[in-house]
């Protein structure tokens, strides 16, 4: 995002890579120890993860999962950039996907009208749900951490109330699954059939667009600058002419709108309906991924892919006789290591910079003194 003078560029780049590298190495070591402690061979496990994870169908799986995770990560990151902790992404995307599915099931218009409508509906619902927390924060001073936790549970209740036969849902054949009316075929999002490797969801295109927009708006526009300003220092932002309250509400709404998209790949490319087993908890995954990617659009993408890779390959570990519960350990260790590593690297970088500033100034002072003497 920042254009850098080449000299500093290199060092920053090195520092930037150092943190995740450090974290992943640490996580590998811890994981290996844990596997060793259960009397199994970590080497074989890792090699299985690599070979299985690089298979073509695994790649498709990983990309599909990463599409969803990426959107979740970006949604959370928008809040993070503002120092807002939007735990409510989870509720926002679920309620958004629900209403979008209801709308999609009811629409009978051609796909090129229906799909944008469904997506807009999802974004609007997510934004509205997030706006509750935003408004409460700016008008009543309610911490968004608490209000979004509450709103998550309330969203669950609202969905439970409406997702019932006779209300906005119907009972599927077999009598065990309740879902909204399935979308008509015309409202399916395009997808790429890769043959044996499976089907790649077309929504990945939207995810990429969201990433580009995130990068562009934040880094290149006045609005993005204002948003980042508030995130770095509310007091400086207010003094610089940003309306902090308006900004908090706005970014909460935007975060919610992006959260609304999280359920869309699943809805439009996969399940085509909202049922009682619609994936939940992705909002929390998004938090981990945003942390991992350091709120950077490319970083989040890498985090999302890593998460997909881990899920895919640890699933298969069970097949090889390992305990797939190792996944949770790896994920937890990675996130913890990453945040610590970033902090260490950040501190080191700051120190380096201050040293350099000091050295530079000393050099300048020496130079001027010499001139005076001469």
């Amino acid at each position: 995002m920042k254009k850098l003078t080449p000299r500093i560029d290199k060092e920053r780049l090195l520092l930037g890579i150092a943190a995740p590298l450090l974290a992943i190495v640490a996580a590998l070591v811890v994981t290996a120890l844990v596997i060793l402690a259960t009397g199994k061979n970590p080497g074989a496990a890792f090699s299985d993860m690599v070979t299985y994870g690089s298979a073509s169908d695994s790649q498709v799986y990983i990309l599909n999962k990463a599409t969803t995770y990426y959107l979740a990560g970006v949604s959370v990151a928008i809040g993070f950039r503002m120092n807002l902790f939007n735990i409510g992404v989870d509720g926002q995307y679920r309620i958004a996907a629900f209403f979008a599915a209801v709308l999609g099931g009811a629409l009978t218009v051609p796909g090129w009208i229906a799909i944008p409508l469904i997506i807009l509906c999802a974004m609007a619902t997510g934004a509205l749900w997030a706006a509750i927390a935003g408004v409460l924060k700016v008008t009543r001073g309610v911490s968004e951490v608490i209000s979004t936790i509450m709103l998550n549970s309330i969203a669950t209740a609202v969905i439970a109330y409406l997702l019932q036969p006779g209300k906005l849902a119907e009972l599927q054949a077999g009598g065990t699954v309740i879902s909204t009316t399935p979308l008509p075929k015309s409202s399916y999002f395009f997808q790429i059939d890769t043959g044996a490797a499976g089907v790649l969801w077309g929504f990945i295109v939207i995810a990429v667009l969201v990433g580009v927009a995130y990068w562009f708006v934040l880094g290149r526009t006045r609005f993005g600058f204002d948003l980042r300003t508030v995130g770095q220092s509310e007091s400086a932002a207010a003094a610089s002419g940003v309306s902090v309250k308006k900004m908090i509400a706005t970014s909460m709404v935007i975060s919610g709108a992006v959260a609304g998209l999280i359920g869309m790949p699943t809805l439009l490319n996969d399940s085509h309906q909202f049922s009682n087993d619609f994936p939940s908890g992705i909002g929390f995954t998004g938090i981990a991924i945003a942390l991992l990617g350091r709120n950077n659009p490319v970083g989040i993408a890498l985090g999302a892919l890593l998460w997909g890779f881990l899920e895919r390959t640890t699933n298969h570990l069970e097949f090889e006789g390992y305990d797939k519960e190792i996944l949770g350990v790896i994920q937890g260790v990675i996130v913890l290591c990453v945040v610590i590593a970033y902090e260490l690297v950040r501190r080191y970088g700051l120190k380096r910079q201050q040293q350099r500033v000091g050295a530079e100034l000393a050099a300048q002072a020496a130079a001027t003194q010499k001139q005076e003497v001469a």
């Binding site: 844990v34 409460l136 309330i154 913890l336 945040v339």
Partner: protein, 428 residues
């Protein structure tokens, strides 16, 4: 967390002496509020005939459900009073459930309790190392602790509980074998007497009897212990040098440092205690309510505890009320669902009317108007329905919390340095 622009001390204008109010409200006022609430509920019970509102079973269930939330909140209180935000409570609770289940079934529940606390402390220490030593953002570290705790316990449960002896004794990857019960306490005679009083359904008297009965009947020792912990925490934090030092770390760590307080030490201690209390909250779930470790047993109670703490303005008394509120509404929905909550709507109407009147009296026309309007809507709802849909009943505590916070958040005062990074020797 919002920035007030000026940080200079206010003009030293002479101000009304407010010494009496500095540690929350005076006792008299609190008693008045409690008495008022009691009268209101008793009246609503008589009007609606929902005897469940204050029955012994209801209160006892509320207490049982409130304890883990209250302990989690108390854990948060310790940590935040020392300036460390602890959103990792959920993870520490999970560790507590696991520790309690793991040791509990192999030896005895008392050791299980200890082990639950111990595991919680371990979780707290991880959080402490990340936030205090490495200066990681507190919320970020808390999220990481939650992830890690979940991952590790699932992994260990799979290994420890699904094979060998454990499996024979009833364990599986998601569950430990059952643990023996911890003793319950019952005050003989008293419980029965209260019960018979309650059964008369007299106005106020039966209500009181029900509430008291609920509080003394079939009480787990851990509940008793939790109550003692509340009182003890209050005493330690507000009446001892240790507590003063600990709180000073949450208000202004640099000042504390300048007076020779080892801020790191106190923060570490506070976060470790916090972990231990969260572990105890988890152990309570595992040992008292379920007699077994179960995956996902905590069900977000760590977060709710945090909410209760904020609700209680970072004070043990307020926190206990917050936890009680959660426990009470949870118990309501589990025990009777729609009908009783429906009766509660009437309580809400009265409260909103009172609030609206007060706001109007204070010339806050907008707020007053809105309160009255919402009150009228709820009244209509009450009049035109017989019960609240069951799906919504479950959401009662969340809605109530949101309502209460939005009415009172501005009066809340969190420790000033809460959540801030602190490095030794870097103060200005």
């Amino acid at each position: 967390m919002t920035a007030t622009m000026t940080d200079t001390p206010p003009p030293a204008a002479p101000k009304a002496d407010t010494e009496g109010t500095r540690s929350g409200r005076p006792l008299g006022q609190i008693l008045m509020i409690v008495a008022g609430a009691l009268l209101l509920v008793a009246a609503v019970r008589v009007i609606t005939g929902s005897d469940q509102l204050t029955s012994e079973g209801q209160v006892s269930a509320a207490l049982g459900l409130a304890v883990p939330i209250g302990l989690a909140g108390l854990a948060g209180l310790w940590s935040e009073r020392s300036g460390v935000v602890n959103i990792g409570l959920e993870g520490m609770m999970i560790l507590g459930t696991f520790g309690a289940g793991w040791i509990g079934w192999q030896s005895n529940p008392w050791l299980g309790l200890l082990c639950g606390i111990g595991f919680g402390v371990l979780g707290g220490l991880v959080h402490a190392v990340a936030t205090i030593t490495f200066g990681v953002d507190h919320i970020v570290s808390g999220v990481a602790v939650n992830l890690l705790a979940l991952g590790i316990t699932q992994y260990l449960a799979k290994i420890f509980f699904s094979e060998g002896d454990a499996a024979d004794a009833g364990g599986n990857p998601k569950q430990s074998p059952p643990v023996d019960s911890l003793p319950n306490i019952d005050v003989p005679g008293l419980s029965d007497a209260l019960k018979s009083l309650e059964n008369h359904h007299w106005f106020l008297i039966s209500d009181l009897a029900g509430i008291l009965g609920g509080l003394v009947t079939d009480l787990s020792v851990v509940t008793l212990f939790a109550v003692l912990l509340f009182v003890g925490s209050w005493w330690l934090l507000w009446r001892t040098p240790f507590g003063l030092r600990l709180r000073s770390c949450g208000e202004n760590p640099v000042a504390a440092e300048s007076l020779g307080v080892n801020v790191y030490k106190y923060k570490y201690a506070a976060v470790a205690v916090s972990g231990g209390l969260a572990g105890l909250a988890g152990a309570f779930l595992a040992l008292v309510t379920s007699h077994t470790y179960l995956e996902n047993q905590t069900g977000g109670r760590g977060y709710i505890g945090l909410a209760a703490m904020i609700f209680g303005n970072w004070r043990p008394g307020g926190l206990a009320m917050g936890a009680g509120l959660f426990g009470y509404s949870d118990a309501l929905q589990l025990r009777n669902g729609g009908e009783t909550v429906h009766a509660l709507l009437l309580v809400l109407v009265v409260l909103l009317a009172l609030l609206g009147g007060w706001k109007l009296y204070r010339k806050a026309h907008w707020q007053g108007g809105i309160s009255l309007f919402v009150g009228a809507l709820v009244l209509l709802w009450y009049l035109f329905t017989d019960e609240v849909p069951n799906d919504f009943v479950g959401a009662t505590p969340y809605v109530v919390t949101l309502l209460v916070l939005s009415l009172s958040a501005q009066r809340l005062r969190m420790p000033k340095a809460d959540g801030m990074r602190y490095r030794k020797g870097q103060g200005k």
